[in-house]
């Protein structure tokens, strides 16, 4: 069932053509704006990809809520509904990441090019559950989109060296971008991957749990048999 849900969610997402165009354009704008400073361009690109996928995830989860409720009533597992939709979003996100990896490879001379692929891939993997999480906390599209906007603005403006910045979901992008561009050891890579893993687990678990709570129908007992009448 999870794979059917994923395939159909992907089909559904692919029909939002204008939205997909903006999902593609947002990271491009971020990338081009800072193309003069390579590491900044790559970091901004990653945050653009993350923002686009998180927003897509937010709208996808909010839009599917009533249908999800209906499917849960007739017996669909909330976990399958969540995983199916996440698989579709991660699939779409990785396709976007591949396109931008090709762009970086073609336009920049990056010392550790595979690290850029890792950076974009990890960003997508964090963004999809992050959007789902926001959609479950703020179940309306406008409020959710504004919350993501605030989060991403904070992500861009906060001093990465600050302890507070480490609590933001995409702090790992800075470490991984530094590892890709600068002549540094494996320290930033290790720190970035650790942060990514922690954020991924935390966002996924909370989003999955909240989705389960929201979609799980009330357990109703089977009708008791009527007493036999003479």
């Amino acid at each position: 069932m999870t794979l059917t849900i994923a395939a159909i969610s992907l089909r559904e997402t692919s029909r939002r053509r204008v939205a997909l165009l903006f999902v593609f354009l947002l990271p491009l704008v971020f990338y081009l704006v800072r193309l003069d400073v390579h590491w900044q361009a790559i970091r901004f690109l990653a945050i653009g990809v993350g923002w686009a996928i998180a927003t897509l995830s937010l709208f996808s989860h909010v839009g599917a809520r009533r249908l999800g409720e209906r499917l849960s009533v007739i017996g669909a597992s909330p976990t399958s509904l969540f995983l199916g939709r996440q698989l579709a979003l991660v699939g779409a996100g990785l396709a976007l990441a591949c396109a931008y990896f090709a762009l970086v490879a073609a336009t920049l001379d990056v010392p550790r090019l595979p690290a850029v692929a890792l950076l974009l891939g990890t960003t997508v993997l964090v963004a999809a559950p992050l959007g789902a999480l926001v959609s479950l906390v703020l179940p309306r599209e406008l409020e959710g989109a504004l919350a993501l906007l605030s989060l991403m603005a904070l992500q861009l403006l906060a001093d990465p060296a600050d302890a507070f910045a480490k609590a933001l979901p995409m702090w790992s992008t800075r470490e991984l971008a530094a590892y890709a561009i600068e002549p540094v050891g494996a320290g930033p890579l290790r720190q970035g991957l650790l942060h990514f893993a922690g954020t991924l687990v935390l966002c996924s678990l909370i989003a999955w749990g909240a989705n389960r709570l929201r979609l799980r129908p009330v357990r109703l007992p089977e009708p008791a048999p009527e007493p036999a009448t003479r």
Partner: protein, 275 residues
């Protein structure tokens, strides 16, 4: 040679759109043109516009099929029991002590003014909303058609059938075949390339209804499912409700229309509690 040919072709096309199998549609169109020829009149003159005649003909065919071999109506075990069910939102009481016993093979209509809690009651029966008090007992095999947002605007009917079929453990082809067959009973032939957002309001509701019965559930819960239906579709819908009942399902319909209430087994009238 071409007497009534164009009208006949249009009639056959509209019959197919209304869910009549292609071979039968061609045969009926041929018979109608032949009858007009025998009467010495143009088919359009004798029967009226092809689209209207096709609709009438399709409806008659469905009615005949429904009554040709009526199933023995037997009331089965209880599929839904509500005992003193209440619902409160903060200080506002929406439902105050609702009781109902619905058996397999029975139809219950929930009626009441706007704001009397009809949809809330249906959501409680579905398990979407938790009752504040009382006991709800319900069979597990349930079909559910909410009033709004029960379908995805960006999916085609066939994709809906696949999605709902997957939940019931049905294969892809079987889901689509069953969905299209059920759609035919409501006088609708789904097109493969049209997403729900581009369907008319009435056709979208037909999709909503078909999805609720895809797995032949023991209990079907419907919240004003006929909104946007034309008169023929409305009659088809009630025929369908009584077919489900005769096939042994329990049906709970939320409605604000009072037609056909003499044919249902239970009428549950809700009133605003605060009034």
């Amino acid at each position: 040679m071409t007497f009534g040919r164009e009208w006949g072709a249009r009639l056959a096309g509209h019959l197919v759109e209304a869910g009549v199998p292609e071979g039968e549609a061609r045969r009926l169109a041929g018979d109608s043109v032949a009858e007009a020829r025998e009467a010495g009149r143009e088919p359009a003159e004798l029967y009226g516009p092809a689209v209207a005649y096709a609709r009438e003909l399709a409806r008659t065919l469905r009615a005949v099929a429904a009554t040709a071999a009526p199933l023995a109506r037997a009331r089965g075990p209880v599929v839904l029991r509500l005992s003193r069910v209440t619902k409160r939102y903060r200080r506002r009481t929406v439902l105050g002590g609702v009781n109902l016993v619905l058996r397999a093979g029975e139809v219950a209509a929930v009626v009441g003014a706007n704001g009397s809690g009809k949809s809330t009651l249906l959501n409680i029966c579905a398990g979407v909303t938790r009752a504040s008090g009382g006991l709800v007992e319900r069979t597990a095999r349930v079909g559910y058609a909410p009033q709004q947002q029960g379908v995805s605007p960006l999916l085609t009917p066939a994709e809906h059938f696949r999605l709902f079929g997957a939940v019931h453990g049905m294969g892809r082809r079987r889901s689509v075949a069953v969905g299209e067959q059920l759609a035919g009973q409501l006088g609708w032939r789904p097109r493969a390339d049209v997403v729900a957002a581009h369907l008319s309001g009435g056709t979208r509701q037909k999709l909503n209804v078909v999805l609720s019965e895809l797995n032949r559930p023991d209990l079907i819960l419907l919240d004003e499912p006929y909104q946007g239906f034309d008169q023929t579709s409305y009659l088809d819908f009630w025929d369908q409700v009584f077919r489900w009942r005769d096939a042994g399902a329990g049906v709970l319909v939320v409605t604000h229309l009072l037609h056909d209430l003499e044919r249902v087994d239970h009428v549950l009238e809700l009133h605003r509690v605060d009034e």
